[in-house]
Symmetry: C2
Subunit: 247 residues, 2 copies
Amino acid sequence: MDDETAPQKGTVTQRAIERIKAMIGEGRLEPGQRLPTERDLAVQLGISRSSMREAIRALTVLGVLEARHGSGIYVTQLEAGDLLETFGVVADLSRGPRLVELLEIRRILESTATALAAARITADQLAEVEKHLAAMNATDDPEEILAHDLAFHREIAVAAGNETMAAILEGLSSRTFRARVWRGYQEEGAFARTRREHAAIHRALAARDPEAARAAAAAHVGEVEEWLRAQLGPQGRSPGPDVPPLT
Amino acid sequence: MDDETAPQKGTVTQRAIERIKAMIGEGRLEPGQRLPTERDLAVQLGISRSSMREAIRALTVLGVLEARHGSGIYVTQLEAGDLLETFGVVADLSRGPRLVELLEIRRILESTATALAAARITADQLAEVEKHLAAMNATDDPEEILAHDLAFHREIAVAAGNETMAAILEGLSSRTFRARVWRGYQEEGAFARTRREHAAIHRALAARDPEAARAAAAAHVGEVEEWLRAQLGPQGRSPGPDVPPLT
DNA sequence: ATCCGCGAGGTGGTCGGACCACTATGCGCC
DNA sequence: GGCGCATAGTGGTCCGACCACCTCGCGGAT
């Protein structure tokens, strides 16, 4: 009754976003459930369809809603992967010192995840890890190496048993992020070193040795971290060509 | 030249989002810089103002852009706090087993951050920590305790020297998140224990003892984590009163 | 000459309607 | 009974208008 008088805080779109978020938070909207149509929702919240669409778009990019053309709007499964997809944006837009900070976080999480994986990994999962390890060593195509490298670490993160952590690590290792950092790193003949480090991680996993796994993973990420730190130190500028701002 | 023919992938809004993100990623749009008007941008990208507004709204909720009514659209400083604000959404919308996973991640990061802080914290920062510790012990108002509790950990995270990690921890400790979990936790007379744990963390910081700090922080978060795990185990339901879905 | 105030222009915010693209459903035809 | 197409309904896009708010410069008062 008392909420009929508009609180008038912020834009109507922002209010609509909060309303829908609240509905989900309170359990009035279950994962996978279909929402009313844009037009109905707009009427229910007393706003125009344009504003409602902006709210839906916002919740869509956040991974909370999913719009299917011609079908309807649905709540996602609200799983870690859905909601943490935006984490990749942070990695992609960060540069300079923040890249080092992101790698530091990845080192902390990746080492812990690898240690957990050493204790929990199943035979099947270990076989999957070995598959990517072999594929990584069997080709010279940087694209393919990168893909299997990502899958290698992803499999380990999943084996650690924490889906959320796996999703965060996935974001911290997004294609564009690694491509940017690794472009220079691997040009310095770091392939061999990378292979040795991956082999060490695999050995620790196969031996079910959490401490060795933690150390190997920390060293693996730490190598890249140190290299990047050194890159930024001397010149203080982020890599890449300086493109003058267009009109 | 070859990009003049529309690639026709996805919705025009999604394409606009990618375009603007790319402009920022390539450095053509600097942090803090003002963008052209919505109307001009729409013309430049060859889409309607409505679609452009949806793209801008999307980038706004991601913390990449900031729209000031009557003034213009600006690129944010792209700092950790700006981009990771959405991380709180994850915490707010997660429930059940995922809450435990989030606490596990917080335990890993918070313990490491506290260890780093023990080695790096300045006298001023330590005084600030003590201020919040004292304020926390001087009141019985749960709201105020929660606020100083958040500030206590935030100050430590900042002292660790990794802004990004501080921002993530901030998201993992968002008001609504903690309020939900702590409501039940603190009702079990955990105030005294919490105060002891905070005191232990402070002692380790004052003694500049990283290992003790790591252990104290891990135990602090671990306590809540274990309690929550126990809550979820027996009944398999998320805590809190079972409110029947409202109409 | 300096300062203050107010008004005009420009900006994002909201609205309503129209049409297009796609999907799903069911009815009728084979 | 099964298949295919017409159709209604959905999200996607566009347009034009108006509103609320901020900014800046012009003009007058001091």
